[in-house]
Symmetry: C2
């Protein structure tokens, strides 16, 4: 099995090393990841400037390819230019920090996996729900198991699995939940500061509030010590609103 591994924390992060090690037990792993941290870049791709590819070494040994671009760039580059054959699966992570509920939208980790789904390659995004992760090894094990489960089942084309793991020792995790994208709200604050030259600048920060109380919602499941697995896709059509908008008669009222 040929496995392409990427992330958004950058090729030198600990999470991608643990992921690659776990997946190398079940397949041939190729690592193509951003040269620098690309958190919260969403599904950005690099078109205005060129990108470069470098070989990245760890402990004197070849580890993978670093790309001077975004997570989505890495997947395109990995599949189109670096790997000789299309991978059987793409796994993105292990991210430092939760990628559930509204954060899916901003996540580079998820966008890497989503780019794979767009290119008709099954994929997984996996994150540990804390910016200070004690141990990525349980998430690495989950990723390996899930790759095997996908091999035995049908993940429909265009769908990826978004996995979030609580930042807890394995024996404190209560189990696994199949979930939907949850509801959370950021209360954004731009902190106003003054630079050393007397000019204003702003730093984006905020508080995230959970709005769910059912264990079949990703963020709430993780808060309650469950591993969350959510199937997501890239069809953004709001079919419910589409049906309601027939009564707007845009054909007659617009143009």
């Amino acid at each position: 099995m040929k496995i392409l591994v990427s992330n958004d924390d950058g090729i030198s992060s600990e999470g991608i090393a643990v992921l690659a090690k776990s997946l190398s037990e079940i397949g041939d792993v190729t690592i193509v990841a951003p040269q620098t941290e690309q958190s919260a870049v969403g599904h950005a791709i690099t078109m205005q400037i060129p990108v470069r590819v470098n070989e990245f070494k760890k402990g004197g040994k070849f580890f993978g390819y670093s790309v001077t671009g975004t997570p989505a760039d890495c997947i395109k580059m990995g599949i189109k230019n670096i790997m000789k054959e299309k991978p059987d699966i793409v796994v993105s992570g292990i991210n430092n920090g939760s990628n559930s509920a509204i954060n899916i939208i901003y996540s580079g980790t998820v966008s890497a996996a989503r780019e794979a789904a767009i290119m008709d390659v099954p994929s997984i995004a996996i994150s540990v729900a804390s910016h200070v992760v004690n141990d990525f090894s349980y998430a690495g094990k989950i990723a390996q198991q899930l790759v095997k489960i996908i091999g035995k089942n049908d993940l429909q084309p265009g769908t990826l699995l978004n996995v979030n793991v609580p930042n807890l020792p394995e024996n404190e995790i209560l189990g696994v939940k199949l979930t939907k994208q949850g509801h959370t709200k950021w209360d954004d604050v731009f902190e106003e500061r003054i630079d050393p030259y007397g000019k204003k600048y702003y730093w984006l920060t905020g508080e995230l509030t959970n709005l769910d109380n059912e264990l079949d919602r990703d963020h709430f499941a993780v808060l309650n010590k469950y591993v969350s697995v959510t199937p997501i896709h890239f069809d953004l059509t709001d079919y419910d609103m589409f049906d309601k908008m027939r009564s707007w008669h845009l054909e007659e009222n617009l143009g």
Copy 2:
């Protein structure tokens, strides 16, 4: 009516000027847009570095606020820091180039409108389907009409309207279609080049292929000279796959 206008082509682009002029006929327009072009940045937000806000003048007169960040940053900054009251509607555009089918995923224009929807403000993204636009004025008129139509109807919270206008004289446009996100495929190519110092670099390019043949699909409708209006949302859950995955029994087979 308080209208917040943004885009991804940057505050000095022609499309945003035409849009702001058209919308100022029906409301109070505040412009908050990226200082530089931000095409294909998707739903990136700026968290690793601070952003700055500057007053932007055009012909010696105050035009709007430029932000050294992404389209999504502009919406957060516009709603949270610049406008004194929450806007009634956000309109993003007029983009130079189509934002339909798979391109919705990569679009900064659409992400600005989507950020508004996330913040519970009704919104529209509007694009003209060509990188060389002859005349934005028809798209400006469509935006104005659609703002009025939304005022008379219910756009459900969390839904935005993604509008694509053919790059044609008004009398050659055949009408308006309510559409769903269409199916297209990029055949990505990284053009390999050599820099002046003898080192390789890659430039992302590609060919887009249409896969639809129904006029209720955004990209195909525009190809056939119709204005396309698509309701989209930010719930990425694949509900169909969610139901199918119950038979995977992840609770027992994973962890």
